[in-house]
């Protein structure tokens, strides 16, 4: 049974890794087409992606700007809602939390269509800032959850102590609440960062082909066939994801963030 269990986990990991390995391997191809295993292995494709081909460098720049902007904005939007929900738990705050999670809960293509019309009216269609706001709203649900988990983990005794010693809400917030929730805020930030980096369908609608992020550029190139340069993009993305989540696991409590039981292990 034990061995069978390990085998099953190993097999799952293998299937999970298979397409990633294939794409990564294909990045090493010397020629213009994708082969697996790679032929005439070389690292020139990495140079093309990061330095010399403007299509890819611009797309990468756009992806980074959108991801960083969206992550910052999403945290800024989620903080007051999560704080309101935690400190008051009023009907209004619950409605706000529900509405904030709405875009993430429905099939993304519907929200994408809606945002397409929305920015069409507001004049943001095809502008990078509209893309940033769109991703922030779409992914706001993630920092909302992580920050809420963080706020709930604050020991109420600390708050009582602060109140007994006459601290105002602002002082309590600065000295007790904020420091204890920093890791959770950062986790939320990183979740948005990575998901925005990889998001496709909403960006597909709001960019209106005026600019391309890396995922859009790859989709555009799908029709003309693959080039090994696209595989470099995939490697970059998976490496960024692994680094970010490792950081969260290293400095935060990943099993707890994912909802594991605290009391055991």
């Amino acid at each position: 049974m034990r061995i069978a269990g390990h085998l099953f986990m190993g097999l799952s990991a293998l299937v999970l890794a298979l397409p990633i390995v294939v794409v990564s391997g294909a990045a090493l191809n010397g020629g213009r087409s994708m082969f697996f295993p790679p032929q005439d292995p070389t690292l020139t494709r990495f140079g093309e992606f990061f330095v010399s081909e403007p299509i890819w460098t611009e797309a990468l720049m756009n992806s980074i700007i959108v991801a960083l902007g969206a992550a910052t904005l999403a945290v800024l939007l989620a903080w007051p809602i999560a704080y309101l929900l935690w400190s008051q738990n009023s009907p209004l705050s619950r409605v706000l939390a529900g509405l904030g999670s709405l875009p993430f809960a429905v099939p993304p293509i519907v929200f994408g269509v809606g945002l397409g019309f929305y920015w069409g009216f507001l004049g943001g269609l095809g502008a990078l800032w509209a893309g940033i706001v769109s991703h922030a709203v779409l992914l706001m649900a993630l920092p909302l959850v992580t920050i809420s988990i963080g706020l709930q983990s604050i020991d109420r005794a600390h708050l009582d102590a602060a109140a007994t010693m006459g601290a105002t809400e602002a002082v309590t917030f600065r000295t007790v609440v904020a420091p204890q929730t920093v890791p959770y805020t950062i986790s939320g930030f990183f979740f948005v960062l990575v998901l925005s980096f990889n998001e496709f369908i909403v960006m597909f609608f709001v960019s209106a082909s005026a600019y391309a992020t890396v995922t859009l550029q790859i989709f555009n190139s799908l029709r003309n066939g693959y080039t090994p340069t696209m595989a470099v993009a995939a490697i970059t993305f998976i490496v960024v994801s692994i680094l970010v989540f490792s950081a969260v696991a290293r400095w935060g409590d990943l099993p707890r963030l994912m909802g594991a039981d605290q009391s055991r292990n």
């Binding site: 269990g5 099953f8 986990m9 799952s12 299937v15 999970l16 397409p19 990633i20 294939v22 794409v23 082969f35 939007l77 007051p80 809602i81 400190s87 008051q88 706000l96 904030g100 709405l102 875009p103 429905v106 099939p107 293509i109 519907v110 929200f111 269509v113 809606g114 945002l115 397409g116 019309f117 929305y118 009216f121 706001v133 709203v137 109420r156 601290a167 809400e169 980096f197 990889n198 496709f200 369908i201 597909f204 609608f205 790859i218 989709f219 799908l222 693959y226 995939a234 993305f237 994801s241 692994i242 989540f245 490792s246 990943l254 099993p255 994912m258 909802g259 594991a260 039981d261 055991r264």
Partner: protein, 328 residues
């Protein structure tokens, strides 16, 4: 708990003493509410409003209040002279792919997650990093990876041929079965385009989500229950069937439902792997709103119907959950 609520005291005290502060707090609160509404709700309202609009030939579209788009979705534009169920059929394919892929993902993720929760905390964190990385990996990359793996000139079909597996299949006679299922052409196996490739990729797409969603309830299972059953002589399979499955029945069902709703909107995997005659509503929405058809109101109608179908499934699932809980 009551003490904690008293923390709010300083705020309300300062509020009664200095009235402007309260109104500023209230203003901030309502400002936040307005912002949330404008950003999260208005886009959906626009889709709904535009779904009643009308396409204007040679231009884009105009506001209107007509049910023509909805009629077209259910019985076709020419009704009552001519009836077509093309759009309903597309919705049917959306459901078909999503149902199978989400069930497949949950069924395979369940044993995996169960094993995961029995590892040490450190090992769990490492697995979670791996799972989360693959979860966040873009649909585009996943489709690209499976496309290389499943395409006819490279990937698995080429591997089948070069290792002689194709020949062996032909010798055994299973090749004909594969052909009947549409998974082979006369010379070799082929996976593009097929339902198999579509469902495999969609299932792969949500598999990490299934693990992440099943992880909390499974990691909260009380190990003493399992040990008690063991002590009383229950075998492995019996423990799973009588202790574990009943206690995670609800999260299992809820996870399947969430993944199903998520998969209803899959776009890239369907465009690449599904046969054009089996394309889904999501693909039709795109081609109406941005693509070749340029009929934004009809695209909006399809989006509204997709959203309503998803909501109905969620509500029904919720009701079923409540009903099951009451009975339990």
């Amino acid at each position: 708990m009551t003490l904690a609520q008293d923390i709010d005291l300083p705020r309300s005290k300062s509020g009664s003493a200095r009235a402007p502060l309260v109104s500023r707090g209230a203003m901030l609160r309502w400002g936040l509410a307005l912002l949330t509404f404008v950003l999260c709700v208005v886009p959906f309202m626009l889709v709904f409003a535009i779904s009643f609009g009308r396409k204007i030939e040679g231009a884009a579209w105009g506001w209107d209040f007509t049910f023509e788009n909805y009629q077209r979705f259910f019985v076709g534009a020419m009704w009552p002279d001519d009836v077509t169920f093309l759009y309903l059929q597309q919705l049917g394919y959306s459901f078909w792919y999503a149902v199978i892929a989400s069930c497949l993902a949950v069924l395979t993720a369940l044993p995996f997650t169960l094993l995961l929760t029995r590892l040490s905390r450190r090992a769990q964190a490492m697995w979670l990093v791996f799972i989360l990385s693959s979860l966040s990996l873009s649909e585009v990359f996943i489709v690209m990876g499976w496309d290389i793996l499943l395409s006819n000139n490279s990937g698995l079909p080429a591997l089948f041929k070069s290792t002689g597996l194709t020949q062996w299949l032909k010798d055994v006679g299973w090749f004909q079965t594969l052909r009947d299922w549409g998974l082979a052409n006369p010379r070799n196996v082929k996976f593009k385009t097929s339902d198999f490739a579509t469902i495999l990729t969609m299932s792969y797409l949500v598999w990490p989500y299934a693990v992440i969603l099943l992880y909390p309830p499974l990691s909260r299972l009380d190990p003493s229950l399992r040990e008690a059953a063991r002590t009383m002589g229950a075998g492995n399979w019996q423990v799973i069937r009588t202790v574990i499955l009943p206690s995670v029945r609800l999260p299992l069902f809820g996870t399947t439902l969430l993944l199903f709703v998520f998969l209803l909107g899959t776009y890239v995997a369907v465009t690449v792997f599904a046969d054009p005659s089996k394309h889904t509503t999501a693909v039709a929405i795109y081609s109406n709103v941005r693509g070749a058809n340029l009929n934004a109101p009809f695209g909006a109608t399809q989006a509204v119907i997709l959203l309503i179908s998803a909501s109905v499934c969620l509500v029904l699932g919720h009701k079923l959950n409540q009903w099951a809980e009451k009975r339990a």
